[in-house]
Amino acid sequence: MPAIIEVQNVSKSYWRDSFEVPVLNGITFSVPEGEFLGLMGPSGSGKTTVLNLIAGIDKPNGGSITVAETNIAALSESQLAKWRSTHVGFIFQFYNLLPVLTAYENVELPLLLTSLSKTDRRKHVEAALSVVGLSDRMDHYPKQLSGGQEQRVAIARAIATDPTILVADEPTGDLDKNSAEEILTLLERLNKEFKKTIVMVTHDPRAAERAHVVRHLDKGELK
């Protein structure tokens, strides 16, 4: 299978006050299309950093990152924003739904960045919400939903624009056992049935089990 994500010799450091903290040291790997990749590693290993770089919300200091044949490391911020809106679907540990918007409106949010008409947007939102099984909660606000339900809405938001890849940062980190199960099953389904490429960072070994491939990061190096 062709690699949909190619990470070549990427390095990244952060600045804490006046200290430069190197996090990634020239890592190279690729993710074939349709893969469900799990990234694990201790705190500070750089796994979230890798995720952020692949998702285009951060830029490497060196190296190149190619996603669906676009070298995103070379894009400007403005171009990256546009790229993200159609190519990446985000799933965060704390769901990050906008509290003042309903479930429907949260899922619709990324669609507002496209040129779809209101009617077309409605179709996409309803489709996404039905995939995650929350069609009956469209008009609820996040505070009226349980943690598991919020995460499902977040997933609906992530798939609404039919993005190239899905990235998930500790998607089950804040959920109880049953809700975590639901979410992982959903992710599996998205991967198997809808052929979505998923890169997931996790601490949880049960979550890791569901991935096809698990790689470990330690001190910025991939094992």
Partner: protein
């Protein structure tokens, strides 16, 4: 601007108390701003309504107001013979020489201090020249008697200024026999009497303060002006339309109030702006994760900037609307003050105008923009990763 409007509006409601406080602050500033301008405008409107463009009023060039102007009888004669002076059906010239003085009276009410009231001695044509002046109670003064009529504002606001009272001045008692109303212009704050009586009482025989006459037609004004410039008997005197003359009397007060009001309001508006800034900074700080999420989803920096700026503008516009609404009630108030231009009492209403409303709106938009600008920039400049991490 792709960030949905409903997100902006609803976000305003999540921090109700602090948003409300900011709105009230802006409302207060706008209220004071508008009130002061309404006062200045009210004075101007009242005085503009005092004169008409059909009449011209002549005063001595150097005079500051009617009371310091003197026009002697012979000069009056020259003016009366000008061809531009209109005549009534009986051929009588529509011209009046007025004697204008000021007397001190005690105000009614708890403020109860003294103030100055204009007393105007007029001749019969004055009532044809100023048709809005109508006797509403009592009767007209009798020529040859020590009688006067009072404007409704004076009757209302001064002690002993009602029909039946006598006022003592110039060594004599003057009986108030009637009350007149002019529909709310400057004459409402005056007392009128027979010019001959007042001239003799104040030893001003042979001279008037000002002369007013009706033009044969309004476009004759320039001709009159030229006549004054060319006739060397008239060179010391200045002719203006009656409306212009009284409007000019409001100039000093109007500018004084507006300038002082705007100066001070600008100052404390900074307080309201800073209040808005603090509120917006807090809003940004509280929604850092949301901002990061929006950016991660692909919304651009400038959309975030615009969203917060609009939030700030909504706050200030709401404040302006409240301030304007409350200020508009001032229009029902009738108040009175000493007009510096004429050195005597003038009753007026606060008057709103479209210009004032526009200014208030622009001012509030400015406040909202300045208050929201820096916080919006901060929101836009957030680094996505850091913003998301701050959860």
């Amino acid at each position: 601007m792709k960030i949905p409007f409903k997100y902006i509006v609803r976000s305003l409601f999540t921090r109700r108390l602090t948003t409300a406080i900011t709105v009230v602050g802006v409302a207060l500033v706008v209220f004071v701003f508008v009130a002061v301008l309404m006062m200045a405008n009210g004075i101007t409107q009242t005085l503009i309504g005092t004169g008409s463009d059909d009449n011209v009023l002549i005063a001595r060039k150097a005079a500051n107001g009617e009371i310091s102007s003197i026009i002697t009888n012979d000069v009056y004669g020259v003016m009366a013979s000008l061809p531009q002076v209109a005549r009534d059906a009986d051929g009588k010239a529509l011209i009046t020489g007025d004697v204008v003085v000021i007397i001190n009276l005690q105000k009614v009410g708890p403020d109860g201090g003294m103030s100055n009231v204009t007393v105007r001695g007029v001749s019969a044509p004055a009532f044809q020249l100023r048709p809005q002046t109508k006797i509403v109670e009592g009767r007209m003064y009798a020529e040859g008697a020590r009688e006067i009529i009072v404007g409704s504002s004076i009757a209302r606001r001064f002690q002993g200024a009602q029909i039946g009272n006598t006022i003592r001045f110039a060594g004599d008692n003057w009986l108030i026999v009637g009350m007149f109303d002019t529909g709310g212009n400057g004459f409402n704050s005056e007392m009128w009497g027979d010019v001959r009586q007042l001239q003799s009482a104040f030893s001003r025989e042979g001279a008037y303060s000002t002369v007013t006459f009706r033009l044969t037609s309004p476009d004759q004004f320039d001709a009159v002006k030229t006549a004054f410039e060319q006739d060397n008997r008239l060179q010391e005197f200045e002719v203006k339309t009656e409306r212009q003359f009284f409007a000019d009397l409001s100039e000093f007060m109007s500018i004084f109030l507006s300038a002082l009001g705007i100066f001070i309001t600008s100052f404390f508006s900074v307080g309201a702006m800073i209040g808005a800034m603090i509120t917006m900074y807090a809003a940004v700080a509280n929604r850092t994760v949301e901002i990061g999420t929006l950016r991660a989803l692909g919304f651009k920096r400038r959309s975030v900037l615009a969203a917060f700026l609009i939030e700030s503008l909504i706050i200030s516009l709401t404040g302006a609307a409240i301030g304007l609404f409350l200020a508009s009630f001032l229009g029902f108030l009738q108040v009175s003050t000493l007009n510096f231009g004429s050195f005597s009492e003038l009753e007026f209403s606060f008057a709103l105008s479209t210009d004032i409303v526009l200014l208030a709106v622009v001012f509030s938009l400015f406040m909202g923009f300045v208050g929201g600008f820096l916080p919006s920039i901060r929101a836009a400049r957030l680094n996505i990763v850091n913003a998301l991490r701050s959860a």
